[in-house]
């Protein structure tokens, strides 16, 4: 075996314990695996399975009061756990870099980010403070931060979540480590930036012969970038398989469970909660919806939503996708009148919601429900589940106390939660369970329509599968219609009949899931789909030749461009796009599109559709 083939990292029987003696728990217990040069290994596991603890332990660290109680972590043949502190310190940050979760917490709140990156660099390189700052500027530029000369002087609290994430990445990479441990490094980033970062890391690993240990919650990341997948269960590796094998024939029950939807879809199974009657009268119809938010101390407004038309048939799921800030959530909130629309009409059945008096609107709410993104925040932690579920029944029904109780138990059974938990409080229940409770509360009054505002975005892969199953089942059994708002195109594909793509408050493309996902026409839809990481190792992004990307930043929703909103970033833009406002046009195949070049056939197909997923 030559030196190049020797494992870069060899972990044997690594254990981490919290507490001492008999009360000690071991989130990591007998962890063993190897990592070679030029390899990207992904680690997946349930929420709370100890993935982050494992990542830290590879550095020879444990979050206090935990401590490493045994095992070996051999990096290039030397056991990190047997080293003295100074030798270990020299390896940390220089040879092994780490990107942790909660980037804002990991940055020192008292020091400018440039100083911190400089300090990390100077801890391993002969450099003075000026060199450190120059290095920090270079690194910030490398991770795609605009105006790095100014940002080096920012404090952590002055950065957005995504920006802090990138600053942390810059610090981890400042000494060009041979091994990068990345714990969900892209969780705060938009899909396009996520893809850019992972592309860059993949390339670095291939070119420099380094390696990456990637903790991921998203199957898409594993499929697109990892060479091998490790499944962490009960503190040790339960499955260790090459990526294609993992996705084709998962061995563990856990792996089979999280991949079930993907395999169903690949085999052409039911991709949604049932079929929709063709030509049915829509249940919900939005026409010309406009929502502006005034800016304090200015006559200008934020145009969150601009001229949106949507129709949802009974029993149908419409997906609403787009980057953060595209106005998806605002559309959902306007729909149930949680925020008052500035203009446009929202019809539910045969009634116009906009004209309704407050009491009538409250009554309508029984039929028109919403489930929010954050399951923790949307349930009162001080209330028992019994009381949470009784609230809508108190408001909208005339049931007796006993009937309400039995209805609550029935609801819990419908969403797959043990009715024996009815006197528990939300505290201590997992995110997936809480989201089920939110859904139970939403369906308590027999609604016919539910807005689902990113209900799966904080869930673990297994909980996502469970929730998608549940939503499909409820749709089949109760004939519900959904507006499913999400940035996760994978879940949208599992759940939706039709999909609408939003950009800067407008719908740019609308059609069936098959139309939009397999043959996107609008340049923005194309870019969004190209950046999305589908959990299919047969279509790896890194194997693709052309990775279409949008350039530049999203324009401000305060000073919107005159013509096409995408013109400044669009790879197919022509000069006239800058001046020409775009209309949503219906194409012969039934989809709508907001791009005059596509609508008039000016944008030819050969300009890059073949590589689309």
């Amino acid at each position: 075996m030559t030196a190049a083939e020797a494992p870069m990292l060899e972990v044997r029987d690594l254990s981490v314990a919290y507490g001492v003696g008999r009360d000690a728990v071991r989130p990591i217990d007998g962890l063993s695996f190897t990592l070679r040069q030029r390899e990207i290994v992904g680690l997946i596991g349930e929420a709370g399975s100890g993935k982050s603890t494992a990542a830290l332990a590879l550095m020879g660290l444990a979050r206090p009061p935990g401590h490493i109680v045994g095992g070996q972590v051999a990096f290039e043949g030397r056991d990190l756990l047997a080293m003295d502190d100074e030798a270990l310190r020299r390896i940390r940050g220089r040879d092994i870099g780490i990107i942790v979760q909660n980037p804002r917490g990991a940055l020192n709140p008292m020091l400018k980010v440039g100083r911190q990156i400089g300090n990390a660099y100077r801890a391993h390189n002969k450099a003075n403070r000026g060199d450190g700052k120059r290095r920090a500027i270079d690194m910030l530029r490398m991770v795609g931060i605009n105006d790095p000369e100014r940002r080096v002087d920012a404090y952590a609290h002055e950065l957005s979540g995504g920006m802090a994430q990138r600053a942390l990445i810059a610090m981890a990479l400042s000494s060009m480590p041979k091994l990068l441990i990345a714990d969900e490094p892209t969780s705060g980033l938009d899909v396009t930036i996520q893809a850019q970062f992972l592309d860059q890391m993949w390339q670095t690993v291939q070119e420099t012969g380094s390696a990456m240990f990637l903790v991921a919650q998203e199957l898409g990341i594993l499929a697109n970038y990892c060479d091998r997948v490790l499944v962490l269960q009960n503190g040790h590796i339960a499955e260790d398989a090459p990526v294609r094998q993992f996705f084709a024939a998962p061995q563990q029950p856990y792996s089979r469970e999280i991949l079930r939807l993907e395999q169903d879809t690949a085999e052409g199974g039911i991709a949604s909660g049932g079929t929709v009657k063709a030509g049915a009268e829509p249940l919900v119809r939005i026409t010309g919806l406009v929502k502006n938010f005034p800016i304090k101390g200015s006559s200008k407004v934020v145009q969150a939503v601009h001229d949106v038309d949507l129709a949802i048939a009974p029993g149908e799921t419409l997906g609403l996708v787009g980057e953060s800030g595209s106005g998806k959530t605002t559309v959902g909130r306007c729909l149930v009148h949680l925020t008052e629309p500035t203009g446009g009409e929202i019809r539910f059945g045969d009634r116009n919601l906009s004209g309704l008096p407050a009491t009538a609107l409250r009554q309508m709410r029984a039929k028109l429900q919403i489930v929010f993104q954050d399951p923790y925040d949307s349930l009162n932690p001080r209330w028992t589940i019994r009381r949470i579920l009784r609230e809508p029944l108190d408001l909208h029904t005339e049931l007796s106390r006993g009937e309400k109780d039995s209805r609550s138990r029935e609801l819990l059974e419908m969403v797959g939660v043990d009715p024996g938990l009815i006197d528990r409080r939300p505290q201590g229940l997992g995110a997936g369970m809480l989201q089920r409770l939110n859904i139970a509360r939403a369906i308590a009054t027999n609604p016919s329509f539910i807005v689902l505002d990113e209900p799966t975005s904080v869930l673990s892969p297994r909980a996502v599968v469970g929730l998608v199953d549940l939503l499909r089942r409820l749709q089949r059994n109760l004939g519900l219609s959904y507006l499913f708002i999400s940035h996760d195109l994978t879940t949208v594909r599992y759940l939706c009949h039709r999909v609408a793509v939003m950009y800067l408050g407008q719908i740019v493309e609308k059609g069936s899931v098959d139309q939009v996902f397999n043959d996107p026409k609008h340049p923005y839809s194309k870019a969004l789909l190209a950046a999305h990481l589908f959990p299919d190792p047969g279509q790896r992004r890194v194997d693709r030749q052309d990775r279409r990307e949008l350039e530049g930043e999203i324009p401000s929703p305060i000073d919107l461009p005159k013509g096409c909103y995408l013109a400044s970033r669009c790879p197919s833009a022509k000069p006239e796009c800058q001046a020409r406002p775009q209309e949503l046009t219906i194409l012969p195949d039934g989809r709508s599109i907001r791009c005059w070049r596509v609508a008039t056939g000016d944008l030819a197909d050969q300009e890059g559709l073949q590589h689309a997923v």
Binding site: V100, G105, N108, P109, N119, A123, M171
Partner: protein, 342 residues
């Protein structure tokens, strides 16, 4: 930005003081006390009583008295606006002068005590935090429990017994200087400083010697809470994500310690400032034990003799100083922690 912030705070501070002056003015007069009879003694004649009342100005309507006190009726004599706190009803001398004599004694005492307590307590608290549950940590815990559980005058007396009476290393608790030494010319009112200004090193040393026990008593009392606070904040800082990440980045140990200390200092500074403001009036027991005529002693005397102008003056001055200290603290806090915005 900074100047505007300070200016705003000062304006608000002055408004608070005005409110306080007026409130105290009325509240004192609600006391079930009769300062006039206190002055003229028991069983005075009606004329003597009336004359004393006129002398104190208490015969006039209360609003007139207030206007006079605030200095809004300058034809009747100087008030606050003219920089006068009035004349003491007991001694007949101006309050400004009396406070000017007593306040520096206390300031000297507690400033020195806080400096020493700070210098001692911060490293000790840090040590405790670096090894929570270690020997040093447990020792400190027992000490702070012990020191804080008994009143300061008791410790003062014990110290006097031990260091003066038994060991003889400290001077008797009879004031700032031995009765035979003539005090240096008064410039700041703080004897140590005045001695240095007058070029009298022997007096300076003697003053320090006399301050030894009262300062030791206060340091002994104050160190407990400061150590606890520093330790607590340091433990929290050491467990924070950014310290963990500093280890991940391979920063040298001293630098990690600096990251943590800075995070721990900000809240500790606030506590120290609040304690300082509190001790301005609260050092009275220690002052009594060591016969130091500080502001605490003065205010107790003023209250006991119903010397309204003196009470008002003390409250006003101590509050004013406290407000300035809080302002300074907020500024220091903002320097340490950039998240604090002006």
């Amino acid at each position: 930005m900074l100047v505007r912030y300070i200016a705003t705070r000062l304006v608000i501070g002055v408004a608070q003081l005005v409110g306080l002056v007026i409130a105290v003015f009325f509240l004192i007069r609600l006391l079930p006390a009769d300062p006039v009879s206190r002055l003229v003694g028991l069983n005075p004649s009606a004329e003597a009583y009336a004359q004393a009342e006129r002398q104190l100005g208490l015969d006039r309507p209360i609003l007139t008295q207030l206007l006079h006190y605030l200095g809004l009726a300058p034809e009747e004599g100087p008030g606050l606006l003219q920089g006068s706190l009035g004349i003491s009803w007991v001694t007949g001398s101006p309050i400004v002068e009396e406070i000017g004599r007593h306040l520096p004694v206390t300031i000297e005492l507690i400033t020195l005590s806080f400096l020493i307590a700070f210098v001692l307590a911060v490293p000790i608290g840090m040590l405790g935090a670096l090894k929570p549950g270690g020997k040093a940590d447990r020792g400190v815990f027992i000490y702070s429990l012990f020191a804080g559980s008994q009143p300061e005058f008791w410790w003062g007396l014990l110290f006097v017994y031990l260091f003066f009476f038994t060991l003889g290393v400290a001077p008797p608790p009879l004031g700032s200087l031995s009765p035979l030494t003539s005090p240096p010319p008064e410039i700041t009112g703080m004897i140590t400083v005045d001695a240095l200004l007058a070029g009298r090193p022997d007096t300076f040393v003697e003053a320090l010697h006399h301050l030894m026990l009262p300062v030791a008593t206060l340091v002994f009392i104050l160190s407990g809470p400061i150590i606890k606070m520093v330790r607590q904040n340091m433990v929290r800082a050491l467990r924070s994500d950014f310290v963990l990440y500093a280890h991940c980045a391979g920063l040298p140990r001293w630098q990690v310690a600096r990251y943590a200390l800075r995070a721990a200092m900000a809240p500790s500074i606030t506590l120290i400032g609040i304690l300082y403001g509190f001790m301005l009036g609260g050092a009275v027991l220690v002052e009594s034990v060591f016969s130091l005529s500080g502001i605490g002693q003065y205010s107790v005397r003023a209250v006991l003799s119903f010397d309204y102008p003196a009470i008002q003056g003390v409250v006003l001055i101590i509050t004013g100083i406290s407000l300035l200290i809080y302002l300074a603290l907020d500024l220091i806090h903002a320097v340490i922690d950039p998240r604090v915005a002006y």
